[in-house]
C-alpha cells in the first residue's frame, strides 16, 4: 500500500488564477445561454401577438371562404390555393434542376475555370435581392418569353430565385457523405453514376430534402417576385375549389393578399390581416415541421 492519501488534497487545488478562470467560464456560459434563449423570445412574441389579434377570424371557414364585400370580409381561399400553385410549380422546376446541378458539381466536375465560374455564379445569385429577381422575371418570362402575367411566369421567377440556395444546400448534403463510402464503391468497380445511386444519394437525402423544404417556405413568403410577374389583387373563385386557376392566368397569393388587406383596402375587419398572417406563418411552420420530422426519421435510419 502506498502512504495513506492526505485527507485534504494538496496537489490540484484551485489557485486564485484558476478560480478567476472558472468564474470567467461561468459568465461566458451564462451569456451564451442567454443569447440562445433570446432567440426564442421574438418568435413567441410574434406568434402570441398574431394569434391574439387574429382570434376572432380563426376558423375553418376563413380558410375555405372567398373574400367578400371588396375584400373587407370573408376568407382567403383564392390566395391560399394561389400560393400552393406558385410554390408547387416553382419547386417542380427548381428541385430537379438544382439537385442534378449540385450532383454534377459535387460528384463529377473537376476543379477548373468552368466549375469555379459556376460556383461564383451560384454564390452571387444566392445574394441577389428578390426585387431584382422580380424585375428579371418580368423581362425574361412575362415579356421576352411571352408568358404574360401568369402563374407560369411567377413560378419560374420563384424557381430562379430559390435555385442557387438549393444548389448550395444540396452540395453541402452531398459533401457530408464520407469519401470512404465512395471509395468502397469505386473499388468494386462501380461507375460514378452507380455510386451516386447506391451510396451518395441515399445517405444525403435527408440533407437534400431539408434544403428543399426550407426553400418552399421562402418561396411562399416572397411578395416582390410574384407581384411583378403573376399575382393579382383579386380573382373570383369558387369557395373551396381546388383547381381554380389555369397556368396562363394570374392568381392571388397569401403574401400579396396580406399586403393588400393590410394597406390597400379601407375598412377591413380588424382580424382579417392578422388571420391571413397566421395562415401564412402556420403553413410555413407546418412545412418546416415536416422537414424536421423527415430529417429526424431519416437520420434515425442512418447508421454512421
Amino acid at each position: 500500500m502506498s502512504a495513506a492519501p492526505p485527507a485534504v488534497p494538496t496537489r490540484f487545488v484551485r489557485t486564485a488564477h484558476v478560480a478567476r478562470k472558472e468564474r470567467a467560464e461561468g459568465v461566458a456560459r451564462f451569456l451564451f445561454f442567454l443569447m440562445a434563449a433570446a432567440m426564442v423570445v421574438p418568435l413567441c412574441a410574434i406568434l402570441g401577438y398574431l394569434l391574439w389579434k387574429a382570434a376572432p377570424a380563426l376558423h375553418l371557414g376563413f380558410l375555405l371562404d372567398v373574400p367578400k364585400k371588396g375584400m373587407t370580409e370573408g376568407g382567403i381561399w383564392p390566395a391560399f390555393v394561389g400560393t400552393l400553385y406558385l410554390v408547387g410549380m416553382s419547386l417542380a422546376v427548381s428541385a430537379p434542376v438544382g439537385v442534378l446541378a449540385a450532383v454534377y458539381l459535387n460528384e463529377y466536375s473537376r476543379d477548373n475555370a468552368f466549375t469555379r465560374a459556376i460556383n461564383l455564379a451560384v454564390i452571387n445569385l444566392a445574394g441577389v435581392p428578390s426585387i431584382v429577381h422580380a424585375l428579371f422575371g418580368l423581362g425574361a418570362f412575362v415579356y421576352a418569353a411571352k408568358f404574360g402575367y401568369s402563374i407560369l411566369s411567377a413560378s419560374l421567377t420563384l424557381a430562379i430565385m430559390t435555385l442557387p440556395v438549393i444548389i448550395a444546400s444540396t452540395r453541402e448534403a452531398l459533401a457530408s457523405v464520407p469519401h470512404s463510402f465512395r471509395e468502397a464503391c469505386w473499388n468494386v468497380g462501380a461507375s460514378r453514376w452507380q455510386t451516386i445511386q447506391a451510396v451518395v444519394l441515399p445517405n444525403s437525402i435527408s440533407g437534400i430534402l431539408t434544403g428543399l423544404i426550407l426553400q418552399v417556405s421562402r418561396a411562399a413568403g416572397e411578395t416582390a417576385p410574384i407581384m411583378f410577374t403573376g399575382a393579382v389583387f383579386y380573382k373570383a373563385v369558387q369557395r373551396g375549389d381546388l383547381f381554380p386557376y389555369r397556368l396562363d392566368e394570374q392568381c392571388m397569393a397569401l403574401s400579396m393578399h396580406l399586403y393588400t388587406v393590410a394597406t390597400q383596402v379601407p375598412n377591413v375587419q380588424e382580424a382579417i390581416p392578422y388571420a391571413t398572417a397566421v395562415v401564412l406563418l402556420g403553413s410555413v411552420l407546418l412545412v418546416n415541421a415536416t422537414a424536421v420530422t423527415l430529417r429526424v426519421w431519416l437520420r434515425g435510419r442512418k447508421r454512421w
Binding site: 502506498s2 492519501p5 494538496t10 496537489r11 490540484f12 484551485r14 488564477h17 472558472e22
Partner: protein, 258 residues
C-alpha cells in the same frame, strides 16, 4: 508500509461505460513514478480509454460513466476540490496524430503558459527562455531556432510530434500520456520519439499506448497488458516478454491473436 518508488497513478476497481457498453472492467493499475510504462493489447481493448481516464478527458464525450477510484500523485482526482485545470496541467497528453495548433512554433510552445498565467505576469524574456528550454529538451532547438515564427503545421510530422511534447513541458507536468505517438511517423521519426522518451525518462512519468509490441519491448520499463477491458498482467517489460505469468499474455506476445 511504502513502495520502493512512489506511485504516479493508481486506480482501484476502475469501470468505464460508453452508454451501455462497458469498456473497462475493474482495472487496478499502479504506475510507478519516473519510469516509462507501456499499455499494450489488441485493438479495441481499452488502452486509449484507460489512458484518457488519467486526466479526465473522457468526460468530454457524451454519456461516459466511470466508477472506482483514480489517484494521480496520491490525490483522488474525482474529489470535488480537485481543479480540472490544474490536473490537466500536471498530466499532459500527446495524441496519435501530431496536433500542433496552426500558429507559430513559438506560440505553440508558450500556449500553455499563456493559458495558465494571468496576462500581466507574462514577461517576454520568460517566454523566450521557456521556448528555448522546452525545444532544447525535445531536441528541436538547433533545427528550429531560426524558424520559431514559422507556422507549426508546416513542420515535418516528426518535428510536429516533438513540438507537441515540447508544448507540455513549460507547464512542468509530472506525467505525460502518449497515445500511439509514433503511428503516424516513419522509422526515423519513431526512433527519434523513442530516444526522446528515454531522454525524458526520470524527470517525467511516461505512459505510452502502443499496439506495436516491439516498441513496448524496446522503449518501456514496465508493461501493462489489457484484454477486452480487463487488466491481465502488469510486470517489468523484460519479465512480461520473457516469462509471462498468464497464458493469455503469452499467446498475445507470440502473436496468436490481436
Amino acid at each position: 508500509m511504502t513502495d520502493a518508488a512512489p506511485l504516479a497513478i493508481e486506480t482501484r476497481g476502475l469501470d468505464l461505460w460508453y452508454g451501455d457498453f462497458q469498456a473497462l472492467y475493474g482495472v487496478d493499475v499502479r504506475v510507478r513514478a519516473g519510469i516509462i510504462t507501456s499499455l499494450i493489447g489488441p485493438s479495441g481493448c481499452g488502452k486509449t480509454t484507460l489512458l484518457r481516464c488519467f486526466n479526465r478527458i473522457n468526460e468530454r464525450y457524451p454519456n461516459v460513466r466511470t466508477g472506482g477510484v483514480i489517484r494521480v500523485l496520491g490525490e483522488d482526482i474525482y474529489d470535488p476540490s480537485v481543479s480540472l485545470i490544474e490536473l490537466r496541467k500536471a498530466v499532459g497528453m500527446v495524441f496519435q496524430r501530431p496536433n500542433p495548433l496552426p500558429i507559430s512554433v513559438y506560440e505553440n510552445v508558450v500556449f500553455g503558459l499563456r493559458v495558465h498565467t494571468p496576462r500581466g505576469e507574462l514577461k517576454r524574456a520568460a517566454l523566450d527562455e521557456a521556448v528555448e528550454k522546452a525545444l532544447t529538451e525535445v531536441g528541436l532547438w538547433k533545427d528550429l531556432k531560426d524558424r520559431l515564427h514559422d507556422r507549426a503545421t508546416t513542420l515535418q510530422l516528426e518535428q510536429q510530434q516533438k513540438l507537441c511534447i515540447a508544448r507540455l513541458l513549460p507547464l512542468k507536468p509530472d506525467i505525460i500520456l502518449m497515445d500511439e505517438p509514433c503511428s503516424a511517423l516513419d522509422v526515423e521519426g519513431t526512433r527519434a520519439i523513442e530516444e526522446l522518451m528515454f531522454e525524458l525518462r526520470g524527470r517525467y512519468t511516461i505512459v505510452i499506448v502502443t499496439h506495436n509490441m516491439a516498441q513496448a519491448r524496446r522503449a518501456s520499463d514496465e508493461c501493462v497488458f489489457l484484454l477486452l477491458g480487463k487488466l491481465i498482467e502488469h510486470s517489468r517489460t523484460a519479465d512480461l516478454f520473457l516469462s509471462p505469468k498468464e497464458a493469455r499474455t503469452a499467446e498475445y506476445i507470440e502473436g496468436r491473436y490481436g
